[in-house]
């Protein structure tokens, strides 16, 4: 009896699967590295998905997909089940995305923060988060009393190093005595360790903390210790209302809607997109009134100038730690150099872990 029951169940599942497959509706799939409620990286991608849905396009998402073998299985499954466009939203999905793209030439793929576009149906996109870091550096340089900025870094990849450099350059400009202390935690997501790192930096005299990790633990630690902090990836203000000066917010929604509509209407092309404050892919959270009106005005002006292109985060002369010139006076760093950045600028303490 049970045997028959399972037979029916299985055939029912197959039928159901088939009916989904044969559905001619346009569908977009999303693969997330964390839970949608992480209030950081994945949360913002999910907001982007909600915008696509609001534009009248059907979407599906799979959350907490580890980078690795599982990722390929999930992406392949989405491609097989009739999704026409798939966003894979973490750096570690780079190879699996390209692998699956090869087998599904009719499905379009969009990979976040990667650089591999091995097939014509793979686009990549990322945000110029470093422009946000420039604003943080400016604020940190003005707000610090101990002239020490604490920076919690995750992994030594260009993305993270670029953020450290952009922040340090901006802070030096307003406060030449600034020191950047860095702690590498080798994780994107371990609240305990992030909190310990923040505490260590605070104990070492940092009175402004920022982080390139995903949890809210560093801002909570800063709030407890009574030092300044910044939100990362999304507005974290309510986790540390007194301490947070502003947040760098990733806003993927306009891009996701634009690309989904393009794919639906057949105008989708392979692209490598790198948008920043100008396009709104990087946005800033509300500025804390503790900064004072003058500083808020200053930073808002700088934000406008970065958006219009009048100011660039990496304007020469820029030197590395040994004093070799990286960007000549009057020049700005090109995108190629930014994308592969692997040395600290002058003024950052310590070595990059190899």
């Amino acid at each position: 009896m049970y045997k028959n029951f399972f037979k029916y169940l299985i055939s029912a599942i197959f039928l159901l699967g088939f009916s989904v497959n044969s559905n001619a509706d346009f569908k977009v799939g999303f693969v997330y590295v964390g839970p949608t409620g992480d209030h950081g990286w994945t949360f913002q991608h999910h907001e982007g998905r909600n915008a696509v849905e609001a534009a009248g396009i059907k979407t599906t998402f799979v959350e907490s997909v580890p980078e690795g073998a599982d990722a390929e299985r999930v992406i392949r499954q989405l491609a097989q089940s009739g999704h026409d466009l798939i966003f894979t939203t973490s750096f570690g999905y780079m190879d699996p995305t390209n692998k699956v793209a090869k087998d599904f030439p009719n499905v379009k793929f969009e990979h976040a923060t990667g650089y591999k576009r091995e097939h014509s149906n793979v686009s990549t996109y990322s945000a110029r988060f470093y422009e946000g870091r420039t604003l943080l550096g400016h604020i940190a340089g003005k707000m610090t009393k101990t002239n020490t900025i604490g920076y919690i870094a995750s992994f030594p990849i260009p993305e993270v190093i670029r953020g450290i450099n952009a922040m340090t350059l901006a802070a030096q400009k307003v406060n030449p005595n600034i020191k950047t202390k860095i702690v590498w935690v080798f994780t994107w997501y371990d609240p305990g360790k992030e909190a310990e790192a923040a505490q260590a930096l605070i104990d070492q005299g940092a009175d402004v903390i920022m982080q390139h990790t995903d949890s809210t633990a560093p801002v909570q630690t800063a709030e407890k210790a009574g030092v300044w902090s910044f939100g990362q990836a999304s507005d974290m203000q309510r986790f540390a209302p007194k301490s947070i000066l502003t947040s760098i917010i990733d806003d993927w929604a306009p891009y996701y809607v634009e690309r989904a509509i393009a794919a639906r209407d057949g105008t989708w092309n392979q692209q490598d997109t790198w948008h920043g404050l100008k396009e709104g892919m990087v946005a800033m959270g509300p500025y804390n009134s503790a900064m004072g009106a003058d500083l808020v005005n200053e930073v808002e002006q700088l934000q406008k100038d970065l958006a219009s292109g009048k100011v660039h985060s990496f304007t020469g002369p820029i030197y590395d730690q040994k004093g070799n010139i990286l960007v000549a006076e009057g020049k700005v760093a090109d995108d190629g150099m930014l994308a592969g950045m692997s040395v600290y600028v002058k003024g950052v303490e310590g070595d990059i872990p190899k």
Partner: protein, 310 residues
């Protein structure tokens, strides 16, 4: 770099705070293992404690209920382990591993709606004394009640095992369940109690993370601390005081390596990250090299299935 005396006090204070979950979980597991039961589900019980505590805090807004509830949740989930290993006589190792996997999965499911909610501030004791006394202030004062309990626990555990009749019974059951049973001791009942006690302590350890240390809920937030607690029990050769020392060394080196990075020591960061594990093992092996004492403390029937012949 400031290495004055008051800074060292602050440093010791944060080292103590970071070792609390290890002390609690390892002390609980130690009692379980001394009764002859090897429960590898520490990580699973901790994470269940973490989500239960946090969820109860959000729902009831009462930290006392949250703390007690987290311990109860640890007890409830350890009942599963107890029933399987003691009543159904399943293999301890396999059951414990399953408990960890189950706990991580279940907590992620239960925690779905609690992600991203800011936690509540946990009251700390004697915060004014912390500021006013240099060096000793940050070490002795300004902590949560759970921390004081955690630091008393290894000594209480030591006293319990060595000086009380019940402690003797637990040890007898762990060393030779057959003889204990012949003496009229209900081995299964004793082991059940020890398993449930271990569950309660692991639940509390998890709640310390989600309510006090980093007040928030995040999937998998115990991040392997349960496994470190398990290893501590073995390397401390089942001695409660050595568990305390091991936990402090582990917490200490973890914090110190972050400070060394912040100061800018020119040592590879990867080596610094591995240092807590290395140092803890080395120190515990060195202080536990007396083989006679190890024999005395090791529960000889650890992990073996016991059933009463009828």
């Amino acid at each position: 770099m400031s290495l004055d005396i008051s800074f060292i006090g602050i440093l010791i204070g944060s080292i103590m705070a970071s070792s609390v979950p290890l002390i609690l979980a390892a002390s609980g597991e130690l009692i379980t293992e001394r009764s002859g039961v090897l429960n590898l589900g520490v990580e699973g019980m901790m994470i269940i404690g973490a989500i239960s505590g946090f969820a109860l805090m959000v729902i009831t807004d009462n930290l006392f209920i949250a703390i007690v509830g987290s311990m109860l949740s640890g007890v409830i989930i350890s009942i599963i382990f107890g029933f399987l290993t003691q009543s159904l006589l399943t293999n301890h190792v396999a059951t414990g591993l399953a408990l960890t996997i189950f706990g991580i999965g279940l907590s992620a499911m239960l925690g779905k709606n609690f992600v991203g909610i800011p936690g509540k501030e946990f009251p700390i004791l004697f915060s004014s004394l912390r500021e006013s006394i240099p060096f000793f202030g940050p070490i002795l004062f300004g902590h949560s009640i759970v921390l004081y309990f955690a630091f008393a626990l290894p000594f209480l555990t030591n006293y319990f095992l060595k000086k009380t009749k019940l402690g003797l019974i637990v040890r007898a059951v762990g060393d030779s369940p057959v003889s204990a049973s012949n003496q009229g001791i209900n081995v299964i009942l004793v082991r059940y109690c020890c398993i449930l006690y271990g569950g309660a302590m692991c639940g509390l350890a998890g709640a310390y993370l989600s309510l006090i240390y980093t007040p928030q809920w995040i999937e998998n937030m115990t991040a392997g601390r349960g496994w470190i607690a398990l290893a501590l029990v073995v390397f401390a050769t089942w001695s409660p005081i050595k568990v305390l020392i091991g936990a402090l060394i582990f917490g200490g080196i973890t914090i110190l390596q972050l400070h060394m990075q912040a100061i800018g020591f020119r040592i590879p960061v990867q080596f610094l990250s591995a240092l807590p594990y290395l140092m803890t093992i080395i120190v515990l092996v060195v202080i536990s090299r007396d083989s006679r004492k190890i024999k005395l403390n090791t529960p000889s029937s650890l992990g073996r299935i016991f059933y009463k012949e009828k």
